[in-house]
Symmetry: D3
Subunit: 140 residues, 6 copies
């Protein structure tokens, strides 16, 4: 059964795209104005998709309140109203939407694996950085 339940969350954060391994000029060429020294920010829209059988009793793929709780704890509390470079750095990676998306995927995988969301599996994480660009990651 190909059944997918998705839920949208929002958080606001700032970041600067910059890799110390590059020279100043390379950083500027690769990241353009996203490399501006003091950073800038976005209203991120996060979409978490769970796949699974519909429980015949509850009529649901997973418990939405529990999913909300897990995402709040693992994602929103950590990233909302932060600077992604200084407050919420992850594995020394450049905080592109791509890396942020994978980080969130890796943070949510254990929640699904633990069984606290029932049989549902993490199917996909998608982040909209602006209304014109977004990234999605469905695992390896």
């Amino acid at each position: 059964m190909k059944a997918y339940f998705s839920r949208r969350y929002r958080f606001s954060a700032s970041h600067r795209l910059h890799n110390d391994a590059y020279s100043e000029q390379e950083n500027r060429e690769i990241y353009g104005k996203c490399n501006n020294p003091h950073g800038h920010g976005h209203n991120y829209i996060l979409e978490v998709t769970a796949a699974g059988q519909i429980d015949p009793q509850t009529g649901m793929v997973c418990d939405m309140a529990k999913l909300d709780q897990a995402v709040r704890k693992k994602v929103i509390d950590r990233f909302d109203h932060t600077n992604l470079n200084l407050d919420a750095s992850f594995r020394n990676l450049v905080p592109t939407t791509e890396n942020l998306c994978i980080e969130i995927h890796q943070n949510l995988l254990p929640v699904f694996a633990s069984g606290e969301l029932g049989q549902a599996m993490l199917a996909r994480v998608r982040i909209e950085e602006t209304e014109n660009n977004f990234f999605e990651y469905a695992g390896i």
Copy 2:
């Protein structure tokens, strides 16, 4: 060829999430405020996706007017401005978005199978219950 034509429809309905097989307390724990006795409602956004070859003559995957007609007859006329528990109950199921989505998928399958929409096949049904949660079903 992976070619998909999608069309959005809208309907407004009310529902109450409640399963008689559960106790009052269980219902409250499982469904939260969605279990409130007199129900509540939503503006549902339905997305029907047809897959198929593009007809080289018409340049279309399927006849949009005929699809509209079928969805109006099978879905909108039945669910719009109704109470999903009292007016449009389906197989005694709790009217979650999941169950509603599968019900609509099952209602549309025979339309596609009948050939009245040409070679197009039903690829997916997706329902947005609020701007923050949606469900999609692509069949078994």
Copy 3:
């Protein structure tokens, strides 16, 4: 100074448009499918607009957290996930968006008058019932 701060809130509710003073036929003619016996529902989008001077110290027209608190207490807790006819009836009025909007305006006026939101005044309440119709009320 014409300065306006607005904040959006969302709630889901069901209702039936029906006036006991009319005959069944009159109700049907006036309200159409909105008169369906078991009701239907919407995702309401509420917009509350405050007007006032910008506090030179805080840089704000009013304290957003306090506004949120007041709207939650006076509006969301009362109307969200309810049936507007049975759970949240107001002055025996037909629960049209017009009447709902004025009811909310009247509920919020004392909050602004009390001074707990500083000098800000209630400028306007606006409700979107569907993406195609909305109502706004700016007082008498």
Copy 4:
């Protein structure tokens, strides 16, 4: 790794759905008001999706500035503010969203194949013609 980067672009164009191989009456029956003699128009929303590994240095699937440049040159400059029948005809096809989508897919394939966007591959092209209908094409 299933990682997808998408970018949205917009263009405004007019078109008339009409196939000379059909009689006037057939055209009218097949295309309805979209066959009106002097045409009509839309604000098209184009979504280009690239798939690929995330470059561990840049943290990106592909260079967004280069993708923008390619889409501007191959798509926007050609279709924006044009009449799709008279200015930007493609292979004598009826300018349905389906045919337009495949035309754009075929125009972008060589850009991805050329390697100027790195290892990223063209995963999908999606066009929204109105807020109620859209088409996507993922290749053969």
Copy 5:
């Protein structure tokens, strides 16, 4: 009482901004790519706002079904799926959003004046040409 009921309608049309009183070069300078010879098009979003007392019996500012009927007859049937220059020309004016908006305002004024929408008055007409520009007209 400042009470406003608004309703959104949509239509798709093509146009070319061109004034015969100007030279080719002047037209090009004034209208830019909107002057392209074969025109282009948009999905127009029209918003009609009625002002008035809320009828204490119906709870409504005006009869929405009657407003829909009037707008369909006076606006949608005339402009939808047309070329604004060739099919629906109005007083030899350049079909800018400004002129289109005023034309629609003038077409709807008699409907409101006739009393068929009760005591409601036409407060405003607003047209969105693209998601980035819109025009509104509230009369003289």
Copy 6:
């Protein structure tokens, strides 16, 4: 004549709400998580509204290309992809949406006063900070 032309622009920026005149604790109480030390960010949506007569020759309230140019120079180039506290500080004010809105209004007033946009006057500036809160300023 009450005729208004509006245009939407977008920019991404970061900020921290903090007033040195307050103690750390006061800042925290007044601004909440918006006071987080390293800041956060938003996708700002700016709406500039011009009022005026419609030029009977051009059919326009003001020249959109010239307005775009002015807003780019005075607003976008200055605020886009910046940190509002460190890169684009204005009169030592806390960079709330309110203060940002008035700053932009003051920056655009001379453009309208100069006559380079014809007879059009600046009617209003509106900024959406998130999809749930926005501020508008129409001058003194």
